[in-house]
């Protein structure tokens, strides 16, 4: 789960990691009001959406006067913000973070992730802060320092020293003490809140010698939300695609894509592979939809309804390899959905596995119009012909 920058900064503040003075606003007038009680000018206003790349997209703006601030706020709130992560239609901005502008001396990067290979948390630190860390890592890997953390020992002082003594020039002792404290606090937050990613980029050293988290990004482990109820409450449904939000209510694993071939598959791996064969056949998938290895009739019905409410869908491919999920259950779900919502586009069905003959018989006996594919390759070819 992702949260907004201002929410992440509230979490930082509550565990003692310094952040700039700031307030949230939903209108240009409220942004001006907020700025009056925040040190400045200068101020910075920052669009609060989950997608990254806000700065390059024009969603982060330094301003020198209240008039400039009001104009910038109006501009950002008036149209969707397009970044490399939002897709071409962009994301509507509903909230702005108004912050004090700081005089910056140095920018660092500090982050924590779980290293899948080494099976432990890893802290990343770089003196090349403020840039995309992926780019720094690709072009100057020597500038990205990594310390693997034993989950039983926790983050140790020697690991902070390993980071510091690679810095050139070495900052003052007071700065190092504060940096070490921020690292420990960030690690404690990562563990306590079941994070999958925390990132401060940049962590700045101001001209007055203070360390401040200028930006904040936290992602949480969805599997752990059951024991993090205060975090689960931070979820912002506005940031989700409408169909994705509906799918998650039905416990369906659905991701909306840009194409026009609706696909319904059981199992995430097979769903990904089905997207791939659709593309190899020359068409574009409209979605990723995994109804689960053991989906019920109801889930199949709901899944098909979601695909059908996507107006761009011009043909549907159902690819099921019945294992735990039986083909007759799938067939009944499809027939039921067809009764509730009219299927107005060509439907191609590929069934294999448990109870496949019962499943095919149920589809055949219904008044549903559909084509049968013998295997995945044929199914993809047939669906591509329908949309070409």
């Amino acid at each position: 789960m992702k949260i907004h920058e201002f929410q992440a900064k509230e979490l930082f503040r509550s565990c003692g990691i310094p952040v700039p003075a700031g307030a949230i606003a939903t209108t240009p007038a409220k942004a001006v009001d907020a700025a009056k009680s925040i040190p400045g000018p200068p101020w910075v206003i920052k669009a609060q959406i989950h997608a990254g790349g806000r700065g390059k997209g024009g969603g982060v703006r330094p301003v020198k006067t209240l008039k400039e601030l009001e104009e910038a706020a109006r501009d950002i709130l008036s149209h969707p913000l397009v970044t490399h992560q939002t897709g071409p239609s962009g994301q509507k901005v509903r909230q702005l973070l108004v912050e004090e502008g700081l005089a910056i001396d140095k920018e660092f990067y500090l982050g924590i992730v779980v290293d899948r290979k080494l099976e432990c948390p890893a802290m990343l630190f770089s003196q090349a802060g403020g840039m995309e860390i992926e780019e720094v890592s690709a072009q100057h890997p020597e500038l990205v320092l990594i310390e693997n953390i034993d989950i039983v020992q926790g983050f140790m002082p020697y690991q902070a020293r390993n980071f510091f003594y690679a810095l050139d020039p070495l900052p003052d002792r007071g700065v190092l003490t504060e940096l070490s404290a921020i690292m420990s606090k960030l690690y404690e937050l990562f563990i306590a809140k079941d994070c999958s990613l925390v990132e401060i980029n940049p962590l700045v050293l101001t001209k007055s010698g203070a360390l401040v988290a200028l930006d904040a990004k936290i992602n949480f482990d969805d599997n752990a939300l059951y024991r993090q109820s205060d975090i689960a409450r931070l979820h912002d449904a506005n940031e989700m695609d409408e169909l994705e939000a509906r799918a998650s209510e039905y416990n369906l694993n659905y991701i909306r894509l840009e194409g026009n071939v609706g696909a319904m598959v059981n199992g995430a791996g097979l769903a990904m592979a089905t997207m791939d064969v659709i593309k190899l056949a020359g068409a574009e998938p409209a979605n990723f939809l995994d109804v689960g290895g053991g989906a019920s009739e109801e889930m199949v019905t709901n899944g098909l309804k979601i695909i059908l409410s996507d107006k761009r869908v011009k043909a549907i491919l159902i690819n099921i390899f019945g294992g735990i999920m039986r083909c007759d259950v799938l067939a009944r779900g499809v027939v039921k959905a067809a009764k509730e919502v009219k299927i107005h586009v060509p439907l191609i069905v590929r069934l294999e596995g448990t109870n496949v003959s019962e499943g095919r018989a149920i589809l055949k006996e219904s008044d549903l119009e559909f084509s049968v594919a013998r295997d995945m390759e044929e199914a993809a070819r047939m669906v591509a012909e329908q949309v070409s």
Binding site: G52, Q85, G111, V113, V114, R116, K117, E119, C120, P121, A122, L124, I133, E134, S137, A138, P141, V144, I146, I151, V152, D194, S196, L197, E199, K217, N219, D221, N223, A224, Y226, R227, I255, L257, V265, N266, G267, A268, G269, L270, M272, A273, M275, D276, V277, I278, K279, L280, F288, G293, F321, G323, I324, E352, G353, T354, D375, M376, E377, A380
Partner: protein, 291 residues
């Protein structure tokens, strides 16, 4: 032969009285798996499918000779179940449970390594040596005894691959689902090492997907040390970046994790990669027949 599980595997099912646990206990039994006991704390003394239910895993080991565990315990209690099995001396733990918090797995894997236990999963369909035993939830009937090993990060995708192998005339020695979570107990390389030692396995199919670098590491290992023919498939060639992969996860691996990187790593090490899943059976026919 086969790896890890065969007719000598004696399984204790943890979470045996739950809906999934009971259903799959019956399915495994029907396939021929030797299930010696079930465990549900507080329900000791009951029976499920004629199998005794115990309160503790240690009793299943001491009194019933269990040497493998299959876990169907809900996510919040799954770590506890894995640790209990390892502490009781079980050396093969198959955790079917989906949705275990990542940090719980970091701690669990650390302890299991110390105990010398092999963990398959979590979030796995399990492991099957066709014709001998299955410890997991895969549909037994799509599998056929034979000499091809299958290692996969997926569930239903594996059934599809196994079905194509069977139709192309290739049975399987052992099929393993590594598990779909970020932290899992075993890697491609672990199983490749075991397959290398198994004289009956003549070739291996590996089924990867986007995220992490397990396939790249496997490619490196195969090129250096593995002498049997390998066919690979990577799911997610068309998956949009940023949606499924963690942001900074790619940093540690030096920008790897994309399907294209994995395919390149495999192909540059001389491994046959099937781009279109529909053609896996045909490719297997070429690669394994020639070999």
């Amino acid at each position: 032969m086969s790896i890890l599980v065969d007719e000598n595997t004696k399984v204790v099912v943890q979470g045996v009285t739950g809906r999934e646990g009971t259903f799959h206990t019956q399915q495994m039994k029907a396939y021929g798996t030797a299930i010696v006991a079930g465990v549900t704390p507080g329900k000791g003394g009951a029976t499920v499918e004629g199998i005794p239910v115990l309160n503790r895993v240690t009793d299943a080991v001491d009194d019933h000779g269990a040497n493998a565990s299959c876990i169907f315990v809900p996510p919040a209690f799954a770590s506890d179940a894995m640790l209990e099995a390892a502490e009781a001396g079980i050396k093969l733990i198959v955790c079917i449970t989906e949705g275990i918090p990542t940090l719980d797995m970091v701690k669990t894997v650390r302890f299991l390594n110390k105990c010398g236990a092999v963990l398959i999963g979590p979030n796995t369909p399990g492991i099957i040596s066709p014709g001998k035993t299955k410890v997991g939830i895969m549909p037994g009937y799509v599998h056929t005894p034979g000499s091809i090993g299958v290692i996969s990060r997926s569930g239903t995708l594996t059934y599809e691959v196994v079905d194509q192998l069977t139709k192309a005339g290739f049975g399987q020695s052992t099929c393993i689902g590594l598990g779909g979570d970020a932290i899992v107990g075993t890697s491609f390389i672990d199983h490749l090492r075991w397959f290398a030692q198994d004289p009956e396995t003549t070739g291996v199919v590996i089924i990867g997907e986007i995220g992490g670098t397990a396939e790249e590491e496997a490619a490196d290992y195969i090129a250096k040390e593995f002498n049997k023919p390998v066919v690979a498939f990577i799911a997610g060639q068309t998956a949009p970046p940023g949606r499924r992969m963690g942001h900074a996860g790619a940093i540690i691996s030096g920008g790897k994790g994309k399907a294209q990187d994995k395919i390149k790593a495999l192909e540059s090490n001389g491994i046959e990669v099937v781009l279109n899943l529909g053609q896996l059976g045909k490719t297997a026919l070429q690669v394994f027949k020639v070999a």
